[in-house]
Symmetry: D2
Subunit: 486 residues, 4 copies
Amino acid sequence: MQAYPKHYCGLFGVYGHPNAAELTFYGLYALQHRGQESAGIVTSDGREFHVHKGMGLVSQVFNTEILHGLAGRMAVGHTRYSTTGSSHLRNAQPLTVDSARGQIAIAHNGNLTNAARLRRELEANGAIFQTTVDSEIILQLMAQPSLNGHRNDLVQTIRRIEGAYSLVIMTENELIGVRDPYGFRPLCIGRIGDAWVLASETCALDLVHAKFVREVEPGEIVAVSENGISSVQAFPEHARRAFCIFEYVYFARPDSTIADRNVYKVRVEMGRQLAREFPIDADVVVPVPESGSCAGLGYSLESGIPLEMAFVRNYYVGRSFLQPSQLVRDADVRIRLNLIAEVVKDKRVIVVDDSIVRGTTSKARVNNLKEAGAKEVHVLVSCPPHMNPCVYGIDFPDRSQLMAANCSQEEIRKCLNVDSLHYLSQAGMVKATGLPAAGFCMACYDANYPVSYESGVDKHVIERRDGRLLSLTEAMRREKAQIKLL
Amino acid sequence: MQAYPKHYCGLFGVYGHPNAAELTFYGLYALQHRGQESAGIVTSDGREFHVHKGMGLVSQVFNTEILHGLAGRMAVGHTRYSTTGSSHLRNAQPLTVDSARGQIAIAHNGNLTNAARLRRELEANGAIFQTTVDSEIILQLMAQPSLNGHRNDLVQTIRRIEGAYSLVIMTENELIGVRDPYGFRPLCIGRIGDAWVLASETCALDLVHAKFVREVEPGEIVAVSENGISSVQAFPEHARRAFCIFEYVYFARPDSTIADRNVYKVRVEMGRQLAREFPIDADVVVPVPESGSCAGLGYSLESGIPLEMAFVRNYYVGRSFLQPSQLVRDADVRIRLNLIAEVVKDKRVIVVDDSIVRGTTSKARVNNLKEAGAKEVHVLVSCPPHMNPCVYGIDFPDRSQLMAANCSQEEIRKCLNVDSLHYLSQAGMVKATGLPAAGFCMACYDANYPVSYESGVDKHVIERRDGRLLSLTEAMRREKAQIKLL
Amino acid sequence: MQAYPKHYCGLFGVYGHPNAAELTFYGLYALQHRGQESAGIVTSDGREFHVHKGMGLVSQVFNTEILHGLAGRMAVGHTRYSTTGSSHLRNAQPLTVDSARGQIAIAHNGNLTNAARLRRELEANGAIFQTTVDSEIILQLMAQPSLNGHRNDLVQTIRRIEGAYSLVIMTENELIGVRDPYGFRPLCIGRIGDAWVLASETCALDLVHAKFVREVEPGEIVAVSENGISSVQAFPEHARRAFCIFEYVYFARPDSTIADRNVYKVRVEMGRQLAREFPIDADVVVPVPESGSCAGLGYSLESGIPLEMAFVRNYYVGRSFLQPSQLVRDADVRIRLNLIAEVVKDKRVIVVDDSIVRGTTSKARVNNLKEAGAKEVHVLVSCPPHMNPCVYGIDFPDRSQLMAANCSQEEIRKCLNVDSLHYLSQAGMVKATGLPAAGFCMACYDANYPVSYESGVDKHVIERRDGRLLSLTEAMRREKAQIKLL
Amino acid sequence: MQAYPKHYCGLFGVYGHPNAAELTFYGLYALQHRGQESAGIVTSDGREFHVHKGMGLVSQVFNTEILHGLAGRMAVGHTRYSTTGSSHLRNAQPLTVDSARGQIAIAHNGNLTNAARLRRELEANGAIFQTTVDSEIILQLMAQPSLNGHRNDLVQTIRRIEGAYSLVIMTENELIGVRDPYGFRPLCIGRIGDAWVLASETCALDLVHAKFVREVEPGEIVAVSENGISSVQAFPEHARRAFCIFEYVYFARPDSTIADRNVYKVRVEMGRQLAREFPIDADVVVPVPESGSCAGLGYSLESGIPLEMAFVRNYYVGRSFLQPSQLVRDADVRIRLNLIAEVVKDKRVIVVDDSIVRGTTSKARVNNLKEAGAKEVHVLVSCPPHMNPCVYGIDFPDRSQLMAANCSQEEIRKCLNVDSLHYLSQAGMVKATGLPAAGFCMACYDANYPVSYESGVDKHVIERRDGRLLSLTEAMRREKAQIKLL
């Protein structure tokens, strides 16, 4: 309920369109839900790159004049909520560098699990880092000379990185899409006339009238150049897939389709499944907008208990809000949703939401319902309890702050002070997707992590230095350089 | 469907609270739907006023530091969409002036129908105007000496102005609320401990935990000072009331309660009434969010046809958008709502919306449905056709652009290319409110204007000058001053 | 020495030029020394006004795009340092209003001495005020209906205002220049082809290649319209002139010519006169740049003692500087001027400056010289001691802060810790101008105020209210309106 | 005359002061003349770096709040005019990176002559570049592992770079100053109590009350750490020095002292030398401010011809000026300096300036003098003609635009339309410094370049890519990866 995991990143790329920057702007607009912290577009006119990045929403970072300045028929865009890398402009993506290979721009969605180790190796080898985003590691790897004297290619590079990554890469004359071998994060291919488009979700294709072609396969590299589009499977032996099921539950926009499953329909089905697993005798079903709306509708349709939109959302809540107020109790909760007391008064209420993360927001909402005179309150959650952190790029809080990792379900129920509390079963959740369980990453529910991560390395490690500094003065001494004291 | 009449204004006032500015900030936040163009707060610390106004959303115009600078236990705030007065900062409200009466701040919601005439009279009498907002006229009237030598009081002043007005006025030590004798616009009174609050809608009281006391009566002046609260009925003989019914249909927030009727429930009832008047054999009910959501739910509940939220709203649509794009057809429509094609494919679809104003947006939406493979499309509107302009402050387009004023219902149906088109009857609309028809202004539907307006005077007239300029040079000549040519 | 009286205002106007806004921009640029707080330009295209004002320097407030938006062949511009009216954007000039006379814009340089009284009268008569600048009073007076039923004309209006004023006024089709009957502030007329120009100083004419025509006479109104240029003397009987001599000493730019006297040459002559009045046996003459440069040169030329530019100015000192630093002692002084110690070491130094106002800056400079090893320091000031405040618009500090008003010359010398201190005699100062003493206002030196000012009325009075507030509630009571308590 | 070579960079560093950031702010303020494009400060609190950089003047980029956020007792600051690297924020210095060595910040004044070659080598070795400034090359070199397994130290690093460089480097616990073996650019050491300071010029020491200790020697590395200050001569065998003589002529602030010679006094002496070399029978000496002021004074003192400050500078000329105007002829020249016609009318005028670069500005100034009625105009330049470009960091125009490289002195005289034109002899210039000629770089006058530069490599080369791009798709093909066409 509201203290949601923060979204992470949206990717968009265009090859071969005269208005590449404007298309990318619209594409990012449709992907704004995947990251609201910074936005950037890099275009290539075949000779040089044009870059504009800024902090804030896509609509705040760009305007018509800026887009006109982004010349070229190729573009890559990124909208970001930081997963690694603190929130400074210099960490905004796409990242662009110059190397022996020419100019490269890269946009990344996901989290590398061996980032800290790779960074240490690269630094040992002489690399210097100017940002704290994983993309810089990928670029450094690509720039390394390989043993055979050839430059590392993308295949070699992505075989060295581990974890979750969907990438859109642009050189001066190619556009490339990459998806990690587990396919944690979505990435799809679209077409507008002769132009090719890459996007995190299909909703971005819809907005720019692009025709959906297919998804980039896990482990696949897709490259578009003047020779057309080609593809290579970089991990031909790899079998296990692990798409993040939380994309279906919460992240993706309901109008997107992933793996042939429309997200909205999956969510409605999760609500129906909830109703099958937990039939409750109540008067009204009240979803928590927007994330619980679909499941709430599903519960109502399946159970026959009427839906009531008793929580009203304020659509003008911006990002730059006041410091928490002592004046207006629960202002941060209340400013987003107001409750229509009359609708729930003297009613037995089923509240449907998509997750309970820290629990504080949920508690505030239940309080509102009680104060409004609800006779009973039943909270139903359209997925299992979140017990474990995500190491693949979703900004769940530490385990210490995950309510379900620290309390039994009955303790949570008591804490929320509700008449009953139910979570959708893992099997039920999977069943609602209509896809096999084996294809999902559900580590946040079941601790079954498809890719191991460096133990003891939390995601901020690369921002902290470990004091292994070699004194320059000391080095000079060691070189027996003659030291003259002033 | 989307090309909605623009909202107009939200008012908020506080008397006797140590955090008057912060409360007003939250109040305006809850009233943001009534105007997004500019926002302003004026406080009084008993000796002087503190003013901050800016263009944009409340959350953009204010921050913690600015609010701290707005000292005092009294405040008046305003959020505005221009009705009269073009969109410049100097027209942002509350307007503050200095006069023989001391400092006065005023915030106005509505539209004076005799503004142009009053302005001409005042100018003839020596007044100079620095803005184009009606509030300045009211202040000028209040500042005029009266015949009996006394200063004009508020009762005299408001008897001279005509049209729609809810006002919140602040002097150095009083907070005053006024509502026109017809009660066109809402205004209510709330209480937080010992402090008094005035607000356009009850949803603003909810956010700041204020207790609803009662509405300001049509024609009533309510004044709060150190002597407590008092009230006077300025139009004791007046009988006719004319509350704007479109507040129920569209303007007010669903969680507000007006005249003891919760807006959400009225809208659901309008949907039920639609279902009673126009039972249609269809597969799904698809509301156009957000304005059609409640009526859509009502239609579904009454008809038993399942609700589907097939239109998905992008919650990050900002105000500062690009110039209309030739590149992405209907980008402005599509960027707000995307359709989930799969949900409507091969279905007979009932679309529920709350109005068709110009028709262009509706047409684009219907196109989306057809392209997505909907078998039938039936459009149902939860109020009668808009045939007439509003002269009381709602920014409907000119009659020439009101689709229903220029086409028969059948013509509109054909133009939209839908299988059927139905509007809720006027009687049905009124019935859904549970209130007597006589208490409403429904002029936009039935041309029955409660207050006549100056004929030939459109609302921009006071921004254009009429060339009656008296040459200063000429004046000097007339005074027979000796003219020395250079 | 540096804590100079702040400058006040620069005026510029254009009639009949296709690039009126751009010319005005350049004109204000040349007049930037007369005010750096805000800048504004209003143009008229014959039908409507175009306005742009902002806080800061002319080059910060305007850019090419903004100037392009200021259409029309007439313009009036203003650059301001506040004399009355606090420093808010709403007080930026030119002020524009709408009245029975049409639109009027006004730019004012000077200070009305009967402003508070006029304002009270106007308020009593029903006027409301939105700013605290004197210009609004002038506009209100012009808008008042006169007894004979005619509108007040300019002649009547300016006969009611007292004090110092040079005005540039623009109606929709006239440009008017006015100078008070004493001619306190400069105003001159120029010509560019067929176009007419008004400007505070001739240096502004130079920049736009305008030919100097003549000065506006004290008491004269000059009007340019489609009928050409005409003029009237509003005070035909008036005799006494009182041009502010401090314009020659400090305010005006050295490249301006006022009353046929080039300011630079007058200042060099003041330095020569200093040398004649106070011949000193010294090694070097060191002027305090920039204000003391001309007089320093004059002293050197007359005395034969070599000039040394030992104080070096930092040309990049901006306005938005840090809060006073405890860290770097006298940072605010030192950041503007650094001393070249080597040049004054073991030398007998004559320092030439144009004024000692508060004394603190002078003291810091002398300290620098002593620390650098100067053997003797003699301070020479190119005007008499400032003993009295200015009531005509120059922002000298209060008498309590004027060093010369509170200390004898010997006390100042001791306080500065210099070997000798000399002020140019009043007669010597006048002699250097080559003009008769009777034509000057020298009140800041000799307390001989040409126009009396309202006693006890300091210049901020109109910003403070006097509590004479008439309660609106009280008024309602008095009207015996029926009071209904809630 | 005015179209001066643009300045380049100012450096400032602090070790061991509680207000390191604020001191650095003031230091940069005093060095603002060395670069106005961007400014930056990096501090170290011993554990992490704090960075703030921005485009514009020091006073625009920083404010009190920002400085408070820059915690730590160490700081390095930079003010920049681009020499290499285009003018983007990402090129602003100090540059900070993270490497195996920990965090390093570097600020650079000068220009590497082997930058392009080093960059190619580093790229071939796997380096990626995110900026186009030379400093990044230095950091990459420092990060490279050396053959003996040790990290490269500073001595090794600076032996690989060629050209002009003064550097201030900060690690997490050291502050280091470096000067190239020729000593092209200045760098000095100062002391404030126990704290150490590094600065480009002594004027920066003066402002922060730091005591001058000595200059960093050419080829010397000075390091301050908790162990105190130490120093090493990295080029013990090196003999030739080559300090940029144009620092004396134009770049340095007159109140700075370099090599024990006060810049102001050197410039006055250059003027005296001019008078000795070219005695002219004239009435007045008019310097072009500010750069010609000292030499003008020297000429006047030596010749006995009176000085007149006939050119008046507008001190409010900002950087963000309008596009060149067709409206006001020579607006860009005239806006900076206005001529007082009266002072030069009917006079034989000696104009003293410090350089004629393109000639256009000089021509405009001479025109002004002629139009003002000067009887004769003699132009005297206080250094020899600029015939050659600078490859060490001074942004002279290309040879094709250097007037003296393309015209004989007589041609220039005719072009300027003056009665005589004289340049100070090279010997005379050197003599005025009182230092041996062998210690200077005077390549811009005599083409005697102390360090050869890569032929054919102009200074923008590293911003343009050479098409050697290795296609990623191609690389994948070469790796025989299986290509699957879509």
